[in-house]
Symmetry: C2
Subunit: 441 residues, 2 copies
């Protein structure tokens, strides 16, 4: 058996980067609505042999400040199509809400994309809890129990619709005048409490059969759902211990659902900042933190249990402060914050390390990022990484051309795609239609 290697994914959001990335001189703010910029980043990721591009989604206004760009402009189906047509091997995982989208539409769009991409699609099936998103659909938000029960039904119906055109239904025999075997294109007639569909869907199998399944989340509800259906789980974890704990919880959920836990790949997020020297990298990330520095210093105080304010920014924490500081176990970022503070940086510099961000932030030359990933991977904290460039304009290339070759040299990451489909590259078994329960005890 060949040595196990990590998987790598990246997310394209608004094509700009972290909230203040658009202010940087190398960024053209017009990329906000420029699909060609997103395609360029996708092609870079494919050059780096990444497993997949992830497209998030948010069904409501995402811009909260005039100084931020909105999180996303362009509708993900359109973006996925553009990427599918401009690339050959990289996968594309689209987020579609089970709360507000209908299974018939989800099934049709994603299977179309799977056919068009040559078997490279995945579906990140998530529930939506944002009241503003519900309001866009003229609804209120249901409780979590209901949302996850609905998600379960929607996923089953979507997968059944994917299988409703059987794999050998397409004959295309001119002599026999039979385009299809209609007995193999049958309604699914699924009626649930929250969703129903008749089917069938008139779409033949893709090169990988049907899209792979992803889920993003960390709650017990999330892990239970992912344990039943997901091939990929995207997590938000800040320490190796927390990641291992979540990965084990997920694997137990898969086992409980009668599946082989190795069939679910656990992805840990990372938002690297890469530059030639540690100082340049810290300055680059610092510029992206600086506009929020006042809010962040107060937040940092709460994280480590000290009353911090703007006056504390330009000095390191004193010995007395460091001795009084306590990491807040409710926010795993506090451990990293305290670790950086103990290195003697000023409070401003601690914050420039992006200790308060959505994912861990290795900052420095490519080796620093590769080391972070290798350490986590070898510690069993993740099967792969979900990488968000800090500033897409040059951050995607910096990762692909700087970090990926190091991981390849270390034997941690592929040097060529294993196959043509997303299933091939992730090592995920064939599935067509709804998986039979407990088929893999």
């Amino acid at each position: 058996m060949s040595r196990k290697q990590m998987h790598l994914a990246t997310i394209l959001s608004n094509g700009l980067g972290l909230p203040y990335a658009w202010l940087e001189p190398q960024v053209d703010p017009a990329d906000y609505a420029n699909i060609h910029a997103l395609v360029r980043y996708a092609k870079a990721a494919e050059r780096g042999k990444l497993d997949f591009i992830f497209l998030g989604d948010f069904l409501a206004q995402s811009q909260r400040s005039e100084a931020h760009a909105p999180g996303q402009t362009l509708e993900p189906t359109v973006v996925a199509t553009a990427i599918a047509l401009a690339t050959d091997r990289i996968g594309i995982v689209n987020t579609v809400s089970t709360t507000f989208e209908k299974p018939y539409n989800i099934a049709r769009v994603l299977k179309t994309l799977d056919v068009v991409s040559g078997g490279r699609m995945g579906w990140n099936a998530i529930t939506t809890s944002a009241p503003h998103a519900a309001a866009n659909f003229g609804r209120a938000i249901d409780d979590r129990e209901t949302r996850y029960a609905q998600a379960d039904e929607v996923i089953q119906i979507v997968q059944a619709l994917w299988g409703s055109w059987q794999e050998d239904a397409w004959i295309a025999d001119k002599n026999a005048r039979r385009f299809t075997d209609l007995s193999k294109i049958a309604p699914v007639n699924l009626r649930g409490t929250y969703a129903s569909s008749r089917g069938p869907l008139e779409i033949p199998p893709s090169k990988q059969g049907q899209p792979v399944m992803a889920h993003a989340g960390a709650s017990p509800h999330s892990h239970a759902l992912a344990g039943r259906y997901a091939d990929i789980l995207i997590s938000e974890v800040f320490t190796i211990d927390e990641a291992r704990h979540q990965r084990e919880s997920l694997r137990r959920a898969a086992t409980a659902a009668g599946r082989n836990p190795d069939d679910i790949k656990f992805f840990a997020g990372v938002i690297p900042t890469i530059a030639a020297t540690p100082a340049e990298a810290l300055a680059r990330r610092g510029r992206l933190v600086e506009p929020d520095i006042i809010q962040q210093v107060h937040y940092l105080g709460r994280l480590i249990g000290l009353p911090l304010g703007p006056d504390d920014l330009d000095t390191p924490l004193s010995a007395a402060q460091l001795s009084a500081a306590r990491a807040n176990p409710g926010d795993p970022r506090s451990f990293r914050a305290l670790e950086v503070a103990r290195e003697g940086w000023t409070v401003r510099e601690v914050l420039h390390h992006a200790v308060i961000d959505f994912h861990p932030a290795p900052i420095g030359p490519p080796e620093v990022v590769a080391d972070h990933m290798q350490e986590w991977f070898e510690a069993g904290a993740a099967d792969g990484f979900w990488v968000t460039p800090d500033i897409y304009a040059d951050g995607m290339d910096a990762f692909v051309d700087g970090v990926v070759p190091l991981l390849q040299q270390r034997g941690q990451f592929r040097t060529e795609y294993e196959g043509e489909t997303l299933r091939d590259n992730l090592g995920i078994d064939h599935q067509y239609g709804l998986r039979q329960p407990h088929s893999k005890p």
Copy 2:
């Protein structure tokens, strides 16, 4: 004022053609699920300077016989994206049902496509009455009154969402650290009986502001809706008289809605068959009719009031039969059927003229098709034509390279696009957001 010219559109369905087109030797049945084939036809249409590509939609199983290909495989958003990225000037009009799709999704997908295409999108807003489509969404079909009341609300909400990011909201001023003027990105908060949405949509204006509006239908409900909102109406008409009558009904509806009737373009359908000689063209179309010849001969009998059956196929109608025949005023195709029968063709040959089809069928060398269109256009029967190639594999090129140059030589059709956007090329006024009622008395 320059001489008025016709507009031209074409539809891409399954990329094959009429139901039996896939049996022809020049057709690769695999084109059924091949987006590159659709893109090739779109590029041909752009070479012909056509106004737009029309993408239909049907939210249920469309294949009724193993000998037919289904009407459509690939989801239209995906197809529209592929065409938008492969072309520069031609418009793209996508069908999206107001009955089963939510206004927030419709608005988001179509405005994204409008931005990505550089202002070349249109929305064919139609209601859906197929019970199998309703069943795919776990619903039953509402009555027509309800469906059209819902359509009216959905269109208003979609257009309001399109306008919810005001045209000058995007500032992108790095020095002022203002990405947008958030006061100009406001919720619409529309609540109707059948649809509601809060908004806003975080998508800036496209090069034409927002998509143009199309509608397909002939009922009084359809004309009333189109009169209020449509820039384009796609009709199904078989004679010049019927077309004039429908066009006038539409224009009255526009006037009643306080609009200038010249602002709605009335498109008449046509399914030409083009070959070097009349006999070759008739043989080509005949092959597409022949598998249904038995059903068609019975149907022809009902159309012209004669008891016809298979035994009548290979002789012309006798003088006695022709004298007894009566066109059925309930089906305008009967007039054309009788006209062809009187030319002395055998009954089989009458049917090979495609007298029983979805649209008029000029059959012959390119001149025959150009003559049909010119005659209708000059008679005030249409502002444009909606052309369905009989067999896409070579029928699209035959139209673009054979018929279009004749229309251009005759001064009936443009030789170059007027502008960059669909609005420019159709001569449709700027609109952003919901049109103010009675703004053009």
